[in-house]
């Protein structure tokens, strides 16, 4: 819920920047050519701004409602001493599950890291090494595939990509250090 509010907040900031540039820099209405360069951007930024505010308001309302519910439940729980004892026992388990939940949340960083590595590798070593390294590295370390199978799949896939993009379509890939 909080992340949604932050996301909507960011959109509000972008929309406001869009509107300011649209009105004051690009021009909303140009007397000689009617609508100015900033006309459509400003109109749509305004729509986005209003929508983001609506999302924040509905989230705050939901948060308030869930806080009220939570408050009621906590009051009931406090009256029972046994529940408090159980709560203490569960703390260690909760911590472990929290770590696991965070691990799961951080998993999307892996493909992003591979992409960043791919961008640098493509710039330095060109298409073949990049394709092979990403495929082989992922299969071996992320998918935990047997190394022989990983090697075979990576070689075949690299060959297919090379034939389509380098040989057939003749895309001029970079490769400042080595270029196969």
């Amino acid at each position: 819920m909080i992340s949604e509010i932050i996301f909507a907040g960011l959109i509000i900031v972008i929309s406001v920047i869009w509107m300011i540039i649209g009105i004051f820099q690009l021009g909303f209405w140009d007397p000689s050519a009617a609508a100015g360069s900033g006309f459509i951007p400003t109109v749509f930024a305004a729509v986005t701004l209003v929508s983001s505010i609506m999302v924040i308001i509905s989230n705050l309302k939901q948060k308030k409602a869930s806080n009220n519910k939570k408050g009621d439940t906590e009051t009931k729980e406090n009256t029972e001493e046994q529940d408090l004892q159980e709560g203490a026992d569960n703390t260690a388990e909760n911590e472990t599950s929290n770590i696991n939940a965070w691990k799961e949340k951080l998993k999307p960083i892996i493909p992003v890291a591979f992409c960043i590595f791919g961008i640098i590798c493509l710039e330095l070593f060109g298409l073949v090494i990049t394709t092979f390294t990403i495929t082989f590295g992922w299969l071996l370390f992320v998918s935990r595939t047997e190394w022989k199978k990983s090697l075979m799949i990576s070689v075949i896939f690299t060959l297919v990509i090379y034939v389509i993009f380098e040989l057939w379509l003749e895309v001029p890939f970079p490769g400042e250090i080595i270029r196969l």
Partner: protein, 508 residues
Amino acid sequence: MAENFQMLIRGLGIAISPMNLFACIIGGIMGLIVGAVPGIGAVAGCSLLLPITYSINPTAAIIMLAGIYYGNMYGGAYSAILLNIPGDSPAVITALEGHPLTKKGLAGKALYTANYASFIGGTIGILFLTAIGAPLARIGLKFGPAETASLIFMALTSIGWLLGDNPAKGLIATGLGVMISNIGMDASSANFRYTFGSTSLLSGIDFIPLVIGMFGLSQVLLLMTDNSAQAEANKFKGKLKLRESFLKKKEMTRLLPTNIRASILGTFIGFLPGAGGTTGGFLSYMLEKKVNKNRDKMDGKQGTLEGICASESANNAAAAGAFIPLLSFGIPGSSTTAVLLGGLLAWGLKPGPLLFQNEPDFVWGLIGSMYIGNIICLAIGMAAIPFMVKLLKIQNNILAPMIIVVCIVGAYANNNSMFDVVVMLAAGVLSYFMQKKGIGVTPLILAYVLAPLFEMKVRQALAISNGDITTFVTKPISLFFLLVAFTLLIAPVIVKTVKKKTEKRSLA
């Protein structure tokens, strides 16, 4: 009209000459492959393959280019359905309705539907071109900036149908799409907008890296967190059977009305200058969401054959329809036909009303070849599906690095620019967060595609009328589209209110 069909028979004779037939087959195959490879797209595909045609005679050359063009339309559906990466903008709706079917283990059926719909759509489009090409082109010329702006406005308002449960979130996605499209040079005034001093942003954010990141990379990111989805997808992969993938007679009959409606609408949109296959496919989808028996299932989450059929029929019909203004008046209906126009001019052929009189062998040979090319694309596409279905059996943990490589390479190949790869990565991360927060990506992409044309036409219309905003309501065609748009906007609210009142009354 009878004379046209006589000429068509003559054209078919020219088209089946060994050289032209060979050009048609090669063009169709290359188009299919280039269309299926994410990151290339019809415009880039035709441009990349243009030099190949220089070594052959003009008729065979333009037949090959046309083959590449409509082959592309067929091929775009493959990566959209299988990988959720639309090969080109017209395939966005195909991805929306087709990929959920892949997740359910119905990829084969979705691919056969796309092929079947593409064939019917393409054929109906070519039939219109043969029979009433010239009169249709004259109607197309009546579409000035105000009329086209109102048509696009109708399409933009209909994005509301894709917004889902939370309209505010849908509007955010639509607004973001428009804002991204604003970056770069303003086509009307040549001013640079929202570049923030970056030279890389001067030419704007390109469609290909944006769509590859939003649909392709985000899918890998989502798979990393959603273990249950991964397990489910792998479970269906084991069950994929080719025999069950064929379309049954009952299904073909069920899809036929959608096919015909979408094809007619697609052809109509195709011959409007600038509107193109994306607008055609989207408006057809919107029409089906209103009139189809299965409209409740067309939500982009469950996946329907009707949705694929509407999109593919319309974009293939629009591809054929775009030849109408190109050949009759020398006006390209889309970016790809602009490349074809360049090819025609390079061979010394001047498109226009006189082209039909001065170069009948060329024009009718081309039209004849389009019928043959359509059959060839259908046959090749059908033959390729079993292979595609087998490819789908690859487990997701093996497919994931391949998708990452295709995303990087495809984004780079678009403009040979590393900046595009960075854009792809940023788009993938943005799309991941949007989907996690329940904000749909499709409205963003559609708004991004439609907004530049909408803006250009609005500003042209206002400039022509000296800033008089009533220009949109004083022109009958424009007024018609605006009325339809407002009806579409207001109708659901009225229906909802009436339903609520009826329920209250029945409870009382």
